[in-house]
């Protein structure tokens, strides 16, 4: 039911009079209000605090506890009020939801108790208004994370039935799970440190021989350093291969940053092994050694902070890009200016614009080495402007990056944005579904509508005949009170259908019929019992044969029989056995059965039950055809059965 605007339903129904002169078909009968009751006050006693409201207010949301007949369970006969043993403070929000149509989340309440109240009263939390929804979601997420953290402490117990591979992977990823993993973790860390220190010490001059110039240690103790290097590389290689083996998705592992760093760290050694003999590329070989320094990045596996730093830089890519861009602009401008300003002076160091770049960079970053200084007055003026503006250009984007880092650090790298987006989509989807619920409720009640009417107006014998095919459920459907409001709303939609001579259908059915028009399928079967049977046989597991023998008087006295009926008289007589499928159709997964049911025409005491049954592939009229039922049915082999 349209939320919160239930009071405007009379207006919408009155406005439907605007369709009447346009409609070509007679309108359905309005649902009778069985008792013209005045709006009454209901007393809701929640743990001693009495709330009062109009009954209509509660009826606005018939699928909640207070709006449906479920509240009768809480009715107290002696005091003539509804008693709920719940928190009265939280009940305020619930009741305000009925009154205003918006659900608010009070910030001082505990999130889990609020959730429990909502669940008790049958209200879905997605309806919380936009004003409070973010707060609600944040609190809920915090709570969930807290619960998860508590659980994680217990998670370290080894799960049974893990393969050796999975155990290894888990050991690599969480070093705290077992002692072996911890040992491995520290050993690799130690060797990374050794390797880095080796690389550094290699270049320190340990001059010993007095006559020779200082030789770096690497060339003095070549063998020793070579052995160290080999040992480290062996450890790293073994580690890399083990990780590769244990990874659940090898391809993804190989693409990850950490594994690339690993590869880059050990590759120079192997390339060096291969290339030692060739003298020409030894120069290149030397540069390859530079890559050994990447081993230090392997530490990022051991440090959460390093990872966060890397992530920050990645996420601040746009700010960094802006910084770079603005710096480049400024450098070019000032370098040009300085070059031309200093062109005149003799023995100027500003030999070309690119040469001035160095001066500009050093000045803008306030380094000021002093190896290049302007000598002309103009040069000095522009030089000072350069250094002043350098401060500004660099200082501006830096706080953004810093704040980004702190934010990410505090969020602890949980992929919040991604999850929030998913939540937003899920929330919108649920709200959309509950809104669609009103329309599907209408379609559902259309199918049940026929059953209700027929059962009301036929005799008991008919009911008895139905008893063997689970008419208990029929009874239940009949007795299930759809609220008056819902009835009136459905009646309104029904009037619209009659005005336009088109019916509302489900999405699924619409897609199907759309496909079929594309296929342009024309069955040539004539309406006959066989098609009737065949159709039911294919669609619905519940056989309609049992229905068949229940006689429904085929009245010829109805003045409202469609002209079509007369033309198909012969075939109709046989098919007067009503194809009552609403019950089974509601269980039918195929929408085929569902919507070929009944358009219910109720006219003052007479029932003209028009049922459109169709052979299995349903058609829509091929060409521009007057949407009148007569012509419609003719070309489509639909059969209209009038009964009663």
């Amino acid at each position: 039911m349209a939320a919160g605007v239930a009071a405007w339903l009379p207006f919408a129904r009155a406005a439907a009079i605007g369709w009447m002169p346009v409609a070509t078909l007679p309108m359905p009968v309005a649902p009778a209000e069985k008792s013209k009751r005045q709006d009454e006050l209901i007393i809701l006693n929640v743990s001693g605090r009495r709330f009062q409201t109009w009954k209509n207010t509660l009826d606005r949301y018939p699928d909640t506890l207070l709006g449906s007949s479920e509240k009768e369970f809480f009715y107290n006969e002696e005091t003539k009020e509804y008693f709920f043993d719940r928190d009265p403070d939280l009940f305020r929000s619930v009741l305000n939801f009925y009154r205003t149509g918006k659900l608010h989340y009070p910030r001082y309440e505990c999130i889990s108790s609020y959730d429990e109240e909502l669940a008790f009263f049958g209200i879905i939390p997605e309806i919380i208004g936009d004003c409070c929804y973010e707060e609600y979601k944040d609190r809920k997420r915090e709570n969930a994370e807290r619960l998860m953290d508590d659980q994680e402490d217990n998670k370290d117990a080894k799960l049974p039935n893990m393969t050796f591979r999975e155990t290894m992977w888990r050991a690599f990823e969480n070093p705290h799970t077992s002692t072996m993993a911890l040992v491995f973790y520290y050993v690799t860390g130690f060797f990374i440190a050794i390797s880095v220190i080796t690389n550094v010490v290699e270049t320190v001059p340990c001059g010993s021989s007095p006559n020779q110039k200082d030789v770096p240690c690497g060339e003095r103790y070549t063998v020793a350093f070579f052995c160290m290097d080999t040992a480290c590389v062996m450890i790293f290689t073994v580690e890399y291969l083990m990780r590769l083996f244990a990874a659940p998705s090898r391809y993804r592992f190989m693409r990850s940053v950490m594994s690339i760093i690993d590869v880059v760290a050990i590759l120079p050694y192997y390339i060096g092994l291969v290339m030692t003999d060739n003298e020409d590329v030894s120069g290149a070989f030397v540069t390859l050694r530079v890559f050994r320094v990447f081993r230090i990045f392997k530490f990022s596996r051991h440090s959460q902070g390093l990872r966060i730093l890397g992530y920050t830089l990645k996420s601040c890519a746009s700010e960094l890009g802006f910084l770079l861009f603005s710096l480049t602009m400024a450098i070019i401008i000032f370098a040009t200016v300085m070059f031309y300003a200093e062109k005149g002076s003799t023995s100027s160091k500003f030999t070309s614009i690119p040469a001035s770049f160095w001066y500009t960079i050093v000045t803008m970053t306030t380094l000021g080495y002093g190896d290049m200084v302007p000598k002309t007055i103009a040069g000095k003026i522009f030089g000072s402007i350069c250094s002043l503006s350098g401060v500004l250009v660099i200082a501006l984007p830096v706080p953004v990056i810093v704040s980004n880092f702190s934010r990410i650090y505090h969020q602890n790298q949980r992929a919040d944005k991604r999850r929030a987006q998913k939540m937003q989509k899920a929330r919108l989807a649920r709200i959309r579904l509950s809104k669609k619920g009103s329309c599907t409720a209408y379609l559902h009640s259309k199918r049940n509508g026929l059953l209700n009417e027929v059962l009301e107006l036929t005799n008991l014998q008919y009911k008895l005949n139905l008893s063997d095919q689970g008419s208990t459920e029929d009874e239940q459907h009949l007795n299930k009170s759809t609220s008056l409001l819902a009835n009136q709303h459905h009646h309104l939609l029904h009037c619209l259908e009659k005005t336009t001579n088109h019916e509302f259908v489900d999405e699924q059915y619409y897609q199907q019929s759309y496909l079929e028009t594309a296929l342009q399928n024309y069955p040539s079967r004539s309406p006959s019992l066989s098609s009737h049977e065949g159709m039911t046989g294919t669609c619905c597991t519940r056989p309609s044969k049992k229905h068949r023998h229940t006689p429904l008087p085929n009245s010829s006295t109805t003045t409202h029989m469609k002209p079509l009926a007369h033309s198909h008289q012969g075939g109709l007589q046989e098919l007067s056995t009503i194809h009552i499928q609403p019950l089974s159709s509601s269980r039918c997964s195929l929408n085929l059965c569902v919507d070929e049911a009944m358009a219910l025409n109720c006219q003052s005491g007479q029932i003209t039950t028009a049922i459109i049954t169709m052979p299995t592939p349903p058609l829509t009229t091929p060409e521009a055809d007057a949407p009148l039922p007569a012509g419609h049915a003719h070309q489509q082999n639909v059969v209209k059965v009038s009964a009663l």
Binding site: A14, I17, H502, Y510, A626, P627
Partner: protein, 215 residues
């Protein structure tokens, strides 16, 4: 230096903001509207006191300021037709209810309109319907006006219908309508032709009484 410039540019904005908020407040208070007394409305319409009370409570709930503008009107009406787009028809309805054409529907307009629709004579109802269809209120319903109305009604059905809605369905419906209503075949329907024709049509007569028990 740049910081100084920034500070200077901020100041005039703040001053502008203050004057804007004052004006906004004035506007808001002007929009608030209280309806005439209950007795007067009772005299002018055919509703009883209780019915007027119920109507006003619902009205005020949705529109606390006392008047409903077109946007709110469209929103409210669209909630009853979730499958289709009811905004065009709501626009026409709004114009039909807003009898003094001031862009908003007050409670009096609302209740007068409802009184005609729910408690009026058949003549009055038909008059109201004619007024709804006659978009430019010149006393004639042309085919274009009728086509607009028809499209608006079909829009409310939405996409998922059986049989599938086609482009020419509203146009055909308009043709049928004109064939029935336009007696002298001059391409327009006048109020007299309309009322005459409707009074001779049983279906329409019956449907006019359909909503009398509402409220």
């Amino acid at each position: 230096m740049g910081a100084l410039m920034v500070i200077f540019s901020l100041q005039p904005k703040q001053r502008r903001k203050m004057t804007d908020s004052v004006e906004d407040e004035l506007e808001l208070s002007a929009v608030r509207h209280r309806p005439e007394g209950l007795e007067q409305l009772e005299a002018q319409t055919r509703f009883s006191r209780k019915e007027l009370q119920i109507l006003y409570r619902g009205f005020k709930n949705e529109c606390p300021s006392g008047v409903v503008n077109e946007e709110t009107f469209k929103e409210i009406y669209s909630q009853f037709f979730p499958q289709g787009d009811a905004s065009t028809y709501a626009h026409f309805l709004f114009n039909a209810f807003d009898t003094d054409h001031n862009g908003s529907v007050s409670f009096e307009d609302f209740v007068m309109g409802l009184s005609i629709l729910l408690r009026g004579t058949v003549q009055e109802k038909l008059n109201w319907a004619f007024n709804l269809y006659d978009i430019n209120k010149d006393g004639y319903i042309t085919k274009e006006e009728m086509l607009d109305i028809m499209k608006a009604i079909y829009d409310m059905m939405g996409k998922c219908t059986y049989p599938m809605l086609k482009e020419e369905t509203p146009r055909q419906h308009v043709e049928v309508f004109f064939q029935k209503m336009d007696k002298n075949k001059d391409g327009v329907v006048t109020i007299d032709e309309f009322i005459d024709c409707c009074q001779n049509d049983e279906n329409i007569m019956r449907s006019m009484h359909l909503f009398e028990s509402v409220l």
